[in-house]
């Protein structure tokens, strides 16, 4: 058997576990968020006041055993004392300028009613990701539309080999039955990993390869039938 993780939990069990997990998040009222589950896909609904609460709720749900995906219907209510768009935009620009990972001057910011649009071009996917995560916890940020693009990259014939080596070095993805296919710089990951964390990590590993232009993550979370090929 490829994974020994006990039996797959039922939707009812998943619902209870997600609710318990949400209840353990500081600063989040248990009753704020509704949880429904169908086919191991969790739908979250309700109202929160910050993007951080929304992200925390999503991450918590994804981390629960057996959860395959999370659909997010949570709304972010406007804060009572929200900063003006101008003040927020200035603070975001400052924040990005001080961040050690965000390349200087590479990213432009537009703020409208607390919704932030990021544009520009960076060399690496992690820079794009960190740009977004570095402002996600700021007061007044209601939503982020990350339109940052990557500098076009030269194709390489060794993408697949490099990604396989990277997956093999990681404690989270080592030994997982992951297929890597490459077409025109687009990498598709398919197969099985035991957790959402491993799925996300596999994607980051693929992005580490400097010749990758896009990553399609089709990894499934869970168990393989014993004896299956």
């Amino acid at each position: 058997m490829t994974y020994v993780q006990g039996k797959v939990p039922t939707d009812t069990a998943i619902q209870q576990m997600v609710e318990d997990e949400l209840a353990s998040i500081p600063g989040l009222w248990q009753t704020q968020i509704g949880v429904s589950v169908g086919g191991r896909v969790v739908t979250l609904s309700g109202d929160v006041t910050t993007l951080q609460q929304l992200s925390a709720a999503t991450a918590a749900a994804l981390g629960v055993t057996g959860v395959q995906a999370v659909a997010n219907d949570i709304q972010i209510r406007a804060l009572h004392h929200a900063p003006t768009d101008t003040v927020l935009a200035e603070a975001i620009v400052q924040r990005l300028a001080w961040n050690a990972t965000v390349p200087d001057g590479a990213v432009s910011v537009v703020v409208h009613e607390g919704n932030v649009i990021l544009t520009g071009e960076v060399r690496w996917e992690f820079q794009r990701r960190v740009t977004e995560s570095s402002i996600r916890h700021m007061r007044g940020v209601r939503w982020i539309d990350n339109r940052i693009t990557l500098t076009p990259r030269e194709p390489s014939l060794r993408i697949r080999e490099h990604i396989h080596a990277g997956l093999g070095r990681s404690a989270l993805t080592h030994g997982c039955p992951i297929d890597v296919t490459v077409a025109d710089g687009t990498v598709t990951l398919s197969g099985f990993v035991p957790s959402h964390q491993a799925k996300r990590h596999a994607e980051r590993i693929a992005w580490n390869e400097p010749h990758v232009a896009a990553v399609v993550n089709e990894l499934e979370i869970g168990h393989r039938v014993p004896g299956a090929p």
Binding site: Y3, I25, A91, R95, A171, H174, S195, R224
Partner: protein, 230 residues
């Protein structure tokens, strides 16, 4: 049995793999970092421009198969545009004020020669960690000393049961392999986990309890061969 034997990797092989990983990890200047391995424990040395780079390198290595511990001896040399302490202090204050995860005015920061000491009292460990992470990401910061304390908490009889339940809910942690011992408001975790991420998640699960003020994470990372190649 040591971790090295368990993962079937010699120190020489681990060193090679770590070097490959650093070369390959985006955001790490691999030639600037030296790698030494003894009994599966990795020591990183060298100089990087920003504190965050030091963190990125260590984290990349911690997540590798066969690595049980990382001694991070990388130093931060600063860059051509190293800000003054006054400028850093202003950026730190700005970061703390604007953070929606840090209650206003609960955390104080002192900057000296690029080092930042955080003090204050908060209600949750996650707030304390969040503050450190915000500050560690700033340019010019050489180190962060997190002295933020937690507000006193009452112990509760069902703390252990609740932490164990949280470990069962988490897809990364195998609750049966982790032993939770609660002594007053201290949680002690022992046993074996498969990865650094699992060890970290277990600690966060313990901190999720409102009745814990200290977590001793004695979990050992042990790369079992239970995940086999199909």
């Amino acid at each position: 049995m040591t971790i090295t034997e368990a993962a079937g990797l010699t120190d020489a092989r681990i060193k090679e793999l770590v070097e490959d990983e650093l070369i390959w990890t985006a955001g790490v200047d691999a030639p600037a970092i030296g790698v030494a391995v003894t009994d599966g424990a990795v020591t990183l040395t060298g100089e990087v421009p920003y504190y965050w780079h030091r963190h990125t390198a260590a984290k990349a290595v911690l997540r590798m198969r066969g690595v049980q511990a990382v001694a991070n001896e990388i130093t931060v040399r600063g860059s051509h545009d190293t800000p003054t302490d006054t400028e850093i202090a202003a950026a730190v204050a700005q970061a703390l004020t604007w953070s929606s995860r840090i209650p206003t005015g609960e955390i104080d920061a002192e900057v000296h020669d690029g080092g930042v000491v955080l003090t204050g009292q908060v209600s949750w460990d996650t707030t304390r960690r969040g503050a450190e992470r915000e500050i560690a990401a700033l340019k010019g910061v050489q180190w962060v000393d997190n002295r933020i304390t937690l507000a006193p908490r009452a112990s509760a009889a069902d703390t252990r049961t609740r932490i164990t339940a949280a470990l069962e809910r988490n897809a990364l942690t195998d609750a049966e392999a982790i032993h939770v011992h609660v002594d007053g408001t201290t949680a002690i975790l022992t046993g074996e986990v498969r990865s650094y991420d699992a060890k970290h998640q277990a600690e966060l699960a313990a901190w999720g309890s409102p009745h814990i003020t200290e977590v001793r994470n004695n979990l050992i990372i042990h790369t079992h061969a239970t995940q086999v190649q199909p």
